[in-house]
Symmetry: C2
Subunit: 448 residues, 2 copies
């Protein structure tokens, strides 16, 4: 679609034409880039001025919001901008698909509040990262939805699982899921449980920095993820992310063992009680954990049942056990407690005064599952060291080893979605479906 | 008090006398040590057989619970066991006091369930760590209470604060608080806020390993803490803990910037968004942060008001906002939310379906405080990057920078305990009382 009359008028009145370098300011955000021809893109808002940013990304800025536009000295010829439909796709390269779900990696400048919101298409990313075309054949690129990752729910986890399977069944060597970073580790855990007989890599990636920043990390994460989808020898749901603030390499992290540990760093995702399963550099994948399930010709399928009425509760000094009571009253069927230390809750000396024990006993009497994890995050829970732990174990609490609280939460919802009884859920929570729980402690995993 | 007839009979029947090396088994726990003369100790259960463990600690084992007792080949002469009253106290050494609150560091083998429970006195620790006598003069050593740290509540935080001040007012150079590790960082934060005009160090320490294990860490932590109490040049509430699994050095961590990051490692406590303020080795304290408030002649005082009706809530995919509603119905006055990433909650695309926004708006309408922190732990929250953040800020949520969620929780209860209005609380939550919030990000603090 061409630019609207409004945009054409705007450009004309300022002596600007496509290919010119400009600096525009919109709602407090300053952007510099080259004016893109509108015809390049068959989607988006006709009232938006499109810029090719220095980052290689495109930004669309609604013309109404532009407070100033300054022509700079630079200029590029239009042939510098490849058109998506003209990106050479080598039929010999391994086919992969992109599934876009939202997040910073799919963002453009947000006109509503001035921040970065979630309105970008995967075509835009391919358009912005021409390196991909020598690495993989992009068979499909679909925007499944455009949501901030904090808004995702089990129904989106199920949709992503189904879509990923569709892609693999259509012959993709692997799938890249573009996702907001905030809750990517929840989604990765969900996919790890919901996709059965996985036969190839499903790589989740995202961006910690918005595309209008010099420190943007999206390009490298997407390229590394495409490489993982095409070439990782394992059938694994994984996160692919910067291993350090530099662009030198990315880590492949097991989907059930990763956690966002920093609000803004490029290397925010870290393995917890685990090591990276592979390291991706420019040109190669170094497998660090050869024990993983290899790719196969199995037919994957999805199993996305999920019980919504599960909760993740934090136990700490003065924490009210009545939150669990309230949720029991509402019919909740399972709880993951983030206990203190080895898996404790206020209990021993507090009967009748803030103790969690009576509520936990009630939950188990009512056939709800109560699983214990640790807010320490690193290490494993153990009911046998202290009396508070033994009392919880005797009350029927299941201690979940070295499983992350977030992963335990997702796993519990998934298991309860299948209608298992309490005894079965107890056993299955301790069974490793996707590497989420293990014996043995490797000291080198601490604060990795 | 001497041993009871029952114990004397037990020893006699097995040909055992004080000083003999024995192996006893009680409720599944095997212990080896030397039989202690009962008269050494003026406290405890007369029916308990006392052993000096290889660790240097004493264990008391109730005679009824002993299933087997085997005499081993070793023997020590009784003069090897110093009596507390005979420990030479050099009047020239700096006076300090110990306050024991419970936890592993004050534990002995627990007869009730076979684990380690909380029944030990600080005299026992001094008796077990003779090195202290060349380092400090132990002016007082008081068992304030014997609680697992997960059971501590604001009233205990207040009691510890008051007791520490009493000690300092009596002329101590510093105070060591022996404390269970699980929630030590909550207590350290509470003391940081509750003690005003602090004039000397208050060092919290504990043990990750029970005293009957070869890997016990209590000795070094106590010795390092005594050194900190006597010689740290700063007036600071701090945690003193192993810097690594080895016994080579301990870190001094700011009381508002530490967190238990591992369930069982000796170096479980780490600084978050901060670096250690000092390193303690055998013989010296290396100050790493010279910017801290120095010791002074000020008179400290306590300010322990605390509003119990505050809560720390975790926001994650599918998390029920109704927990906040429920607590509002119960009269709760403030909330710290552990949001995702930069400080988000399910909100934007979820109006009417799991969005936290309506509940948060209700809370603020009802003059409750809502503060935002991040479950990432490392980094800082920022409402200005994404739309969900802006919507929360516009709703009146206070974004709490780089403050730890646990510390924000304690600080909020403390501020609300003083009856401040919402506007004042908002300002004061962003004011640094004890180094708990700061501008500037030091990349070297990540996963330190």
């Amino acid at each position: 679609m061409p630019y609207s009359e409004k945009v054409l008028q705007f450009l004309k009145s300022r002596g600007l034409s496509t290919g010119d370098e400009v600096q525009v300011e919109a709602e407090g955000v300053k952007l510099e880039g080259y004016v893109l021809p509108r015809e390049e893109l068959d989607f988006g808002d006709q009232d938006a001025l499109l810029l090719k940013l220095k980052s290689g990304y495109n930004a669309g800025i609604r013309i109404d919001t532009i407070s100033s536009a300054k022509k700079l000295s630079g200029r590029v010829e239009l042939e510098r901008f490849p058109k998506l439909k003209e990106v050479a796709q080598d039929p010999e390269l391994p086919p992969i698909s992109f599934i876009s779900t939202g997040g910073t990696i799919s963002s453009r400048v947000d006109y509503l509040t001035g921040g970065v919101a979630m309105l970008f298409s995967p075509e835009e990313i391919l358009y912005g990262i021409p390196e991909l075309s020598s690495l993989v054949r992009v068979r499909t690129a679909e925007r499944l939805f455009s949501m901030a990752s904090e808004d995702l729910r089990p129904e989106q986890w199920a949709a992503i699982s189904s879509k990923a399977i569709d892609c693999l069944m259509q012959g993709d060597r692997g799938v890249v899921v573009l996702h907001g970073t905030d809750t990517m580790h929840f989604t990765a855990a969900a996919l790890s449980f919901m996709i059965k007989n996985l036969n190839a890599p499903v790589a989740l990636t995202g961006a910690q920095r918005s595309p209008d920043r010099g420190s943007r990390d999206a390009d490298m994460n997407v390229i590394a993820s495409a490489r993982v989808a095409a070439h990782l020898p394992h059938a694994l749901v994984c996160l692919v992310f910067h291993s350090s603030p530099s662009d030198r390499s990315a880590f492949v992290l097991r989907g059930t063992r990763a956690r966002k540990m920093h609000t803004s760093r490029r290397d925010a995702f870290r393995p917890v009680n685990d090591l990276p399963v592979a390291r991706v550099t420019d040109g190669s994948i170094e497998v660090l954990d050869p024990s993983l399930k290899p790719r196969s010709d199995e037919a994957p399928w999805v199993d996305t049942a999920f019980e919504d009425k599960v909760a993740l509760l934090l136990a700490h000094p003065n924490s009210p056990p009545e939150l669990m009571d309230h949720l029991l009253d509402k019919g909740y069927k399972g709880f993951i407690v983030q206990g203190t230390g080895l898996g404790h809750v206020p209990s021993l000396t507090l009967e009748g005064k803030g103790s969690w024990l009576p509520t936990i006993k009630r939950a188990i009497d009512e056939s709800a599952f109560v699983g214990m994890t640790s807010q320490c995050l690193y290490g494993r829970v153990d009911p046998l060291v202290y009396r508070n732990g033994r009392l919880l174990m005797e009350a029927g609490v299941t201690f979940l080893g070295d499983m992350l609280p977030e992963v335990a939460y997702v796993k519990l919802g998934w298991l309860l979605g299948h209608g298992f009884g309490l005894e079965d859920v107890r056993k299955l929570m301790l069974f490793s479906f996707a590497g989420e729980i293990a014996d043995g402690d490797d000291p080198s995993t601490y604060l990795y």
